[in-house]
């Protein structure tokens, strides 16, 4: 049985590593400016963690294979170096990994969170509510009208609770159900929640950020490739959580201007 | 457990060694401290919101505080009597029970004082959900009062053990005494928080 354990565990370890090594399940293409740092970090971690995983499992498999079902009266003996060796190994192996990943890893984090948005980034506001995302562009005046929760009226498509009658700045705001952005232009996404916690996740952009009711949060990013990408809600928000999504359309500047013109006429 | 009946001229038998499971009460206090630390952090985070205001601590709180501190003295007196630190005389049983009873009465008076403080706030239109400050006021004083009532229940149990069985486990006495003093210390801390932060 001991030998069987060794064999089965070896198979399990190698079978587990197989899909990783052959890249069967990987993240989608990266279309962001900061994503490569995250992908690199992920790949480095996968290499170290993957190696540790396989080695540890093989070691366990080998030891059980070799040291079980021993002869009657077999003597037990200790690994030379004992616990001290293990402690030192742990500190060196893990310590260096931790330092490397921790120290170098913060660059990727800093790129997303510690750099302020470009002053001429395109500002868009995203509102998350049970169970849809809506987006608002500030219009030619470059200003967002104030939000009035008591004026929200989904039946009349006033998703944000705008008051154009009394709010000059709200009059030219453009509200859409789709987030269209020009390629290679920095976007400053302002995030507002209408009701409960939600989250904004675009796999290809390598961004994820919660909407927190009552907090003004924002993200900034630049998309480097045109295309149609899913925006998913990743914070449990109620029964429609699984279906709460929108689309990110990354367009050429020309196409984006056309799109914006069309949306303005639809308001 | 020892249940020796004896004449009033002798101290009640305190069973159990001076040590024993005395760590129990300190462990419990650790947990209670942690809970109030959690409430305090909630207060600190909540006070960052724009609707944080200010409420005046009702004057009766200071009277209640005095009552609770005196009850601590009574509790300490009870402990000394029961552990025989004070010379015993005739009618000591009555005296011992008297000190414990006084502690209980003062404890109840304290809780009554808290109730008066709540009435005072209600008279000002400040209820539990009126504003975050009033919420914390009722919360902190209410949870503390609940713990004081628990202490009073323990004191009553102690009283019954003394009066009926005329015997007391040493670590039970110690436990109740430490708990009672802790209630006073905790109240002093909460009073500071209320006056300075709310």
């Amino acid at each position: 049985m001991g030998k069987l354990f060794g064999v089965i565990l070896t198979i399990i370890a190698l079978a587990s590593a197989y899909p990783i090594v052959t890249h069967m399940y990987v993240q989608p293409v990266d279309i962001s400016t900061h994503g490569h740092a995250i992908d690199e970090q992920l790949a480095d971690t996968m290499a170290e963690a993957g190696l540790s995983f396989v080695l540890a499992q093989l070691l366990l498999a080998f030891c059980v294979w070799k040291f079980s079902n021993r002869k009657e009266g077999a003597k037990v003996f200790h690994l030379p170096g004992g616990a001290k060796l293990m402690v030192v190994a742990a500190f060196i192996l893990v310590g260096t990994e931790v330092l490397a990943l921790g120290v170098f890893g913060q660059k990727a984090w800093a790129a997303v969170y510690f750099t302020p948005p470009n002053p001429d980034a395109l500002q868009v506001q995203a509102q998350a509510g049970q169970f849809a995302f809506y987006f608002r562009y500030p219009g030619p005046d470059g200003k967002f009208g104030a939000l009035h929760p008591d004026k929200i009226d989904e039946g009349n498509q006033n998703y944000f609770g705008l008051d154009p009658a009394n709010d000059v700045e709200a009059r030219d705001d453009v509200v859409t159900a789709e987030l269209a952005i020009p390629v290679n232009r920095e976007i400053h996404l302002l995030m507002h929640s209408k009701d409960v916690g939600h989250s904004f996740y675009v796999r290809e952009l390598r961004i994820q950020q919660d909407f927190v009711p009552g907090l003004d949060l924002s993200l900034h990013f630049t998309a480097t490739q045109a295309g149609h990408f899913e925006i998913l809600c990743t914070q449990l928000c109620g029964l429609g959580h699984y279906n709460m999504k929108a689309y990110l359309s990354v367009l050429s500047q020309e196409d984006f201007d056309k799109w914006m013109k069309q949306k303005v006429s639809e308001q | 457990m020892s249940t020796t009946i004896h004449s009033p001229a002798v101290l009640p038998r305190l069973a159990g060694p001076a040590k024993g499971s005395e760590s129990g009460i300190w462990i419990a206090l650790f947990a209670i401290t942690m809970s109030f630390a959690a409430f305090t952090s909630a207060l600190f985070i909540r006070q960052a919101s724009t609707d944080w205001t200010h409420i005046a601590a009702p004057g009766v709180l200071f009277a209640s505080t005095a009552v609770l501190l005196v009850s601590s003295f009574m509790m300490e007196a009870s402990r000394r009597e029961l552990e025989g630190k004070v010379a015993s005389k005739i009618h000591e049983q009555g005296r011992r029970l008297g000190f414990v009873a006084a502690t209980v009465l003062l404890g109840l008076t304290f809780v009554a004082g808290q109730y008066l403080a709540w009435r005072n706030l209600r008279a000002q239109g400040l209820y539990l959900a009126t504003n975050p400050n009033s919420s914390f006021f009722y919360l902190l004083t209410g949870v503390h009062a609940l713990h004081v009532l628990g202490g009073i229940a323990a004191l009553l149990y102690l009283f019954i053990q003394l009066a009926v069985r005329k015997s007391l486990r040493r670590n039970l006495l110690r436990g109740v005494v430490v708990y009672w003093h802790f209630m006073a210390a905790l109240w002093l801390y909460l009073l500071v928080v209320i006056c300075v932060r709310l």
Binding site: S52, H78 | I27, F30, A31, A38, A42, S49
Partner: protein, 590 residues
């Protein structure tokens, strides 16, 4: 060394009468079995819920026969609605984390064996002990009641984030009285745990037998001691959090709910509260809680392994210090559950460092186990196999944690199946393996009979291979970006992943079915198992020095004296290749 013998003054007399012997027993051994039984019930209910979930994910339109009787609104016609899926998810997590993983390895085995392993007749506070179980039982009943109210159980997950959990029924089905029952149940559970932890700590500090120094306590005892220290403080924070949540829900306060929320077309009458406050309070409890789930497992496995290897581990002291460091560090890492929550991004980096650092003591412990295997004389049986399997699972689960500890990687992996794979590996598999190992190991002591080894081995193999088949693929799904807590998969990239999901579901149903082998073995062996001797595993610790099962006062009124640590294996003793802790035999080079 202080003689704590006279502390026995408080010990109760042997119970008489059915109620006092079996229901409101003050005997820690009976209470332990009550906890274990409650955990067993919870795990089968929790497993059933996961079957329903896995079924629904791959066969969403399947009619599940009989379900419409229990869930009239949740599963009309036997088809699970999106909200019912979330209810199943919430109750699955709640039952498993609280009623299984906190109950069995800690309250269950700990209650039974802590007093015996330190040479005590019972816990320090037997009445508190009895109350702690019944409080936990009441919490269970209140929680399960949520299944039977019209609106059903809550849909906010075991994490119950505000404001979804705080607003009330406007926020969705199950969030009215379902959520209230959940909060009340968890609050009551906290009180039970506080009473239990108090007992464990006081007992370990005050009731050790003569010669039982702290360092002579078995690793399992140390694990229970450290766990209860963590539990005392962690549950002392969850209880206030539940109080605040209940006040928001029922008294109109605004601890967690800000102003201006429009839910179900209704403007909510709250202002100024902070949803992040709930997350901080919850995870300040929640992270130590997962160490409460794993440390007793580490202790049990170390204890079983020492015995199964017939040699001491490379260093029990280092394992103990490592467990203490894990306990200490566990208080500093809670923010790693909140990297993208909207909290200050600088805090995320601050939380990341201690999170990565915890890997060090965890690695030390794993390397000591692996290193100890070298040169051992491994005894193969169900108990040792589950202990060895634990090492494999602990490595697997730990390694995926390494990814999630880094905020930048977490940006991509947060809220995906990668996270679900990670915590199921460590909690849902590894910790459960330790419970199995402990069961096979200690069943003879608790009942006086051996469990059936053939069935045990069958149980092991199916479970070992099966759990890898279920949970390893979760990591692959996460790497693609498969989002968690979805009742159906409607995203464009999901169809390609459905074959893997089907594989997982079939593995889950199969592995789950194998657990009935264990249940059968448990019940059958209780009545028909081979009779066990006092020391069937040739163990050294105190539980093996008393009969199987032990008498009501554990040591028959005797006061055990301890001469050695519990690691005297692999030498020439008078009884074999070991020397018991209570044996006055001299050992050279101790």
């Amino acid at each position: 060394m202080e003689e704590a013998l006279k502390s026995q003054a408080h010990v109760h007399a042997p119970a008489e009468g059915f109620l006092w012997k079996y229901v409101f027993s003050l005997d820690h051994k009976v209470i332990a079995k009550q906890y274990y039984a409650l955990a067993l019930l919870s795990v089968f209910v929790g497993m059933g819920l996961s079957w329903l979930m896995r079924f629904h994910l791959v066969w969403p339109n399947a009619k599940i026969p009989g379900l419409e009787l229990i869930a009239k609104t949740g599963a009309p016609g036997g088809i699970i609605t999106p909200e019912y899926y979330l209810s199943l998810l919430t109750m699955h997590g709640t039952l498993m984390v609280f009623f299984v993983l906190t109950n069995a390895p800690f309250a269950g085995f700990g209650n039974y064996f802590l007093p015996i392993q330190i040479g005590a007749e019972d816990m320090a506070f037997p009445r508190f002990n009895m109350m702690s179980f019944w409080t936990t039982f009441v919490a269970f009943v209140v929680l399960i009641a949520a299944f039977f109210i019209p609106d059903g159980p809550p849909i906010s997950g075991w994490t119950a984030y505000a404001p979804l959990s705080a607003i009330g029924k406007d926020a969705g089905p199950g969030l009215g009285w379902g959520q209230n029952l959940w909060v009340i149940a968890i609050g009551i559970f906290c009180i039970g745990q506080l009473l239990g932890s108090l007992n464990f700590i006081a007992t370990t500090l005050d009731l050790r037998a003569k010669g039982m120094t702290l360092m002579r306590m078995p690793i399992s005892t140390w694990a229970w001691f450290i766990t209860s220290s963590i539990g005392l403080l962690a549950f002392a924070v969850l209880l206030p959090a539940c109080v605040l949540l209940l006040l928001d829900r029922m008294a109109g306060t605004s601890f967690f709910i800000p102003s201006g929320l429009v839910v179900s077309d209704r403007l909510q009458n709250h202002a100024g509260g902070s949803p992040l406050l709930w997350q901080h309070l919850f995870w300040f409890f929640g992270h130590p809680e997962v160490y409460i789930a794993i440390l007793p497992a580490v202790g049990i496995v170390s204890h079983v392994l020492t015995n199964s290897l017939r040699k001491p581990l490379l260093s029990a002291k280092v394992i103990i210090y490592s467990m203490m460091s894990i306990g200490f560090l566990s208080w500093m890492v809670w923010g790693h559950h909140m990297f993208v929550s909207g909290m200050n991004p600088f805090s995320s980096l601050l939380f990341s460092f201690p999170t990565l650092t915890i890997t060090i003591p965890a690695t030390i412990i794993t390397l000591i186990w692996l290193g100890s295997l070298y040169g051992a004389n491994i005894q193969i049986n169900s108990a040792s196999f589950f202990a060895l399997g634990f090492i494999s699972m602990f490595v697997s689960g730990g390694v995926s944690g390494f990814f999630l500890a880094q905020p930048s990687i977490d940006i991509y992996l947060h809220a995906t199946y990668f996270v679900v794979g990670h915590f199921h590996m460590v909690m849902g598999v590894a910790a459960i393996f330790a419970i199995f190992s402990g069961t096979y190991f200690w069943f003879p002591k608790m009942t006086g009979r051996m469990m059936n080894e053939t069935l045990g081995m069958l149980h092991f193999w199916i479970t070992f291979v099966g759990t890898y088949c279920i949970f390893m693929p979760f990591h692959y799904l996460g790497l693609v970006g498969n989002v968690r807590r979805y009742s159906s998969f409607v995203d464009d990239f999901m169809p390609a992943l459905m074959p893997l999901h089907k594989f997982i579901t079939i593995a889950a149903l199969t592995t789950g079915a194998a657990q009935f082998i264990f249940l059968f073995n448990l019940v059958h062996s209780r009545f028909r198992g081979k009779l066990a001797s006092a020391n069937p595993w040739r163990g050294t610790s105190l539980e093996w020095s008393v009969p199987s099962p032990p008498p009501w006062n554990n040591f028959g009124g005797a006061h055990p004296v301890v001469y050695h640590d519990p690691y005297q294996y692999g030498l020439k003793g008078s009884t074999g290749d070991f020397v018991m802790q209570t044996s006055p035999e001299q050992i050279l080079n101790e």
